[in-house]
Assembly symmetry: C2
Homo-oligomer: 559 residues x 2
Amino acid sequence: MSDERLIYLPLGGAGEIGMNCYVYGYGREGRERLIVVDLGVTFPEAETTPGVDLILPDIKWLADRADRIEAIFITHAHEDHVGALGHLWPRLKAQVYCRRFTGAIARLKMEDQGHPATAITVVEPRPDVVEAGPFRVQFVPVSHSIPESSALIIDTPVGRIVHSGDFKLDPNPVVGEPYDPEESDMVAGEGEGVKVLVCDSTNVFTPHPGRSESSIGPALRELVEGASGLVVATTFASNVARLKTLAEAGRAAGRSVCLMGRAMKRMVTAAVETGVLTDFPPTVPPEMAAEIPRGNLMLIVTGSQGERRAASAQLSRGKYLGIELKEGDTFLFSSKTIPGNERGVNRIINAYSEMGVNVVDDQTGRYHVSGHANRPDLERVHAAMKPAILIPMHGEHRHLREHARLAAAKGIASDVVTNGMMVDLTGETPEVVEYIETGRVYLDGTALVGAMDGVIRDRIRMAMNGHALITLIMDEDEAPLGDAWAELMGLPLRGRSGRLLAEVVEADLSEFLGRADTRLLANDDKMDEAVRRVVRQVAMEEVGKKPEVTVVVSRLLAG
Amino acid sequence: MSDERLIYLPLGGAGEIGMNCYVYGYGREGRERLIVVDLGVTFPEAETTPGVDLILPDIKWLADRADRIEAIFITHAHEDHVGALGHLWPRLKAQVYCRRFTGAIARLKMEDQGHPATAITVVEPRPDVVEAGPFRVQFVPVSHSIPESSALIIDTPVGRIVHSGDFKLDPNPVVGEPYDPEESDMVAGEGEGVKVLVCDSTNVFTPHPGRSESSIGPALRELVEGASGLVVATTFASNVARLKTLAEAGRAAGRSVCLMGRAMKRMVTAAVETGVLTDFPPTVPPEMAAEIPRGNLMLIVTGSQGERRAASAQLSRGKYLGIELKEGDTFLFSSKTIPGNERGVNRIINAYSEMGVNVVDDQTGRYHVSGHANRPDLERVHAAMKPAILIPMHGEHRHLREHARLAAAKGIASDVVTNGMMVDLTGETPEVVEYIETGRVYLDGTALVGAMDGVIRDRIRMAMNGHALITLIMDEDEAPLGDAWAELMGLPLRGRSGRLLAEVVEADLSEFLGRADTRLLANDDKMDEAVRRVVRQVAMEEVGKKPEVTVVVSRLLAG
């Protein structure tokens, strides 16, 4: 029996939705040749990551083994699959393989960070094959909410892996290849069949079969036709099929169509340049839109998730590029609000409501469909692929667990594998062989900060508790020179006593210093601790909270 | 013609869901006698109000006219209607009227803040009347998700106002009085009928008729009966009817029932003491729960919104009061996730998923019903009350606008009136007569902070940008004594150069001070500005972000 093994190790995306990064390896233990599937980001939020720009997977394990990486594969161009490429590639430096449209976006990610676009190789879909050490990899077109999404067929010495990528089953996806059950059967029927299906779990809790992207066209046309003022629609910038459907609805109603927002322009340009979008209706440039009578105009804008700087938020705050919404206009969310973004989206809806704009959202499901396979679709794929093993991915723990249960109920060996769990897939059932230290890295401005470094923890503490700065000068004889000085930031001006909090703090510190003994005054650490305690106690009495305290003691040198 | 007028002025709750506070007045302009309906709070969140404990309406307008206030009425005991009573009552000092159960909770709110519980008068429902200056006020029992909710009939010299409070139409509410259409007709039929309906707008976008609290009993019983391990259910602590339904489901399945969480205990105690809850199943105290075999136990716990300190979150983190959830147990959310709380709730669900607990949420609508009237219910009330004027309240702008449209479509005079808009209701249509400066006040620890005071803004800035503290000592000749000292909080340790950021900042400051002229060095404001600029520039180059900067310059006196 061979002592080579097939391993699977998710570094991101398994136990969360976002930040996808999966590793496969084959070879002797500790010497496996590796391939990486996707390098995505996830997005920060105020509660746990204030001020952070992007969140990346911690790829230390992979970077330490960069010489063993044969290739990086990117399944599609969503940020949670390709967004970290520019930031992490320098530590891996392997060749990157993807399809044409994904390649156009990946190239921009590399160039944004000053890395060579030549690291990216565009691959045609199956039957073309990328040879990557012990792996033979093919791209299988699947439907999703962005052009040229792909599943990967990863043939290994011990059998075939299908890595689903993000997908849905769409017989008529508007842009790209329709779902073809025969193709599925072929993938499953070749050679020994499918050994392992590593599968998208996003919509495992959605009980009804998914709907086709093309199914919402009629409702969108009806809505735009029935509108009288300006019509503005927002959706995910990368959903090129949706942009097309929206634009066609505008044109059908005799309106000029204008795309607004940088991300949208970037996506449509990439789609046109790579030939995935051939018959997009003509559009007018944003700077000309204001000239067109509002009843003849339709804007398609970025910002479906309430992002503060996107076009939809700008328009909700007033004039933007010469355009101002008003009574009788229509604003359509052709999108779903991702959990956690409700506040931002509602802020925009209420601002439009104040303007008298008619806001249409997706509560009814008439104007948006998901890009992920629902529960019955997943079951259909399980049945078609007949894998010996199913590993759920792309989901929070609850999604992975439910997906594993679904598979197990059909007699498929399955297990919940989360970030950092290395699993041996050589045998008939998945076996956990190691736990890798993994986690998140924050892009903070231009610096990378570890999630456990304490930098963001300090920021959260200042946001919760305020920050008191105490400066003290000690003379050559280790005695306080003058009074302590308190600068308070983010703390109430006055407390219970009615006096200025800073003054109360300073008075209490003076009193404390007056009776402190020389040994304490001469010791920096003890001084720091004692001053901190006094400040926190005074603040607690005055305003009912304990601030973060920074103490700076300057000692004049005798001389 | 009389020169007296009837006015309506919302100070909270109109243009938001939460923080309800409505003012009615009657009399000569500027001398109206006033009544206040509800004094509620709203809850802070990390993005806009980090570290804040509670958000209260700014009642300055009302406090300045405290001598004109006849009475305060509280419609029901939810936090967004009574939560601010203890904090704001000292500035109003009027007598507070409410029903028995609400009174029990209101008394606790007063006592918590050290105010006299005698300020609270418990009132029986209609036909009892509270005379309050020119107003005659009656409490009308309505169904809601807390006991003894009330609408108010406010009879004025120019006609009847019905202030709906929060309500639903429930023919079988489990606890409290059922909805009685005949009572509605009577309210509408007395005297001249209803002049103004001021009406709950929360569920105006929900297209189907509301469901009765009693309708979920069978599904809950079935769920608990089918469970094998420990069953834990969470709901809003104040939903006493739901607690009862849940407890009965537990008892029917032969389980001992235990209520866990301080808020839940407080609510049930108040409900039992005031006689609204007479036949609650027997419960076991939390400290005994761990003794009972898990298959024979059902916990009903606080924390349906994912609150970090509530019982549901405690249990999701491990052992709590001796109880630990495990594989095969069931956790039920008999509640809706309020928009904005999704992240916290999902965090708990995923933690339970990791434990192998079977989490049941309300996606299907089987285990929770709303406490507010849906769109068809609102239409039914409009039709029954036949008001001349409808003023939508208790809603974000989008809800108020939709509700006003709904009324207008039926020929009822209606307008969107938001916080701070004073409306004259004397005539046949509402007329805006004044805009009052209003807003929010934050309870921060024990201090009250104005939303515009800049305190919270500073905290948010520190959370986003980090905080750099620079201390400098200038000698008797206005020359720097030693080097500048930089303390950084919430900033990356190292930047682009690979050196410690604090050291780079200090080096650049030393260089700057070395070439600064004496006029600058002698001027505190100019020094502050210049040092700040240097620090922000260095940080931008090194880590790509500009921190908040506090500069402390200590000047030694010549002597």
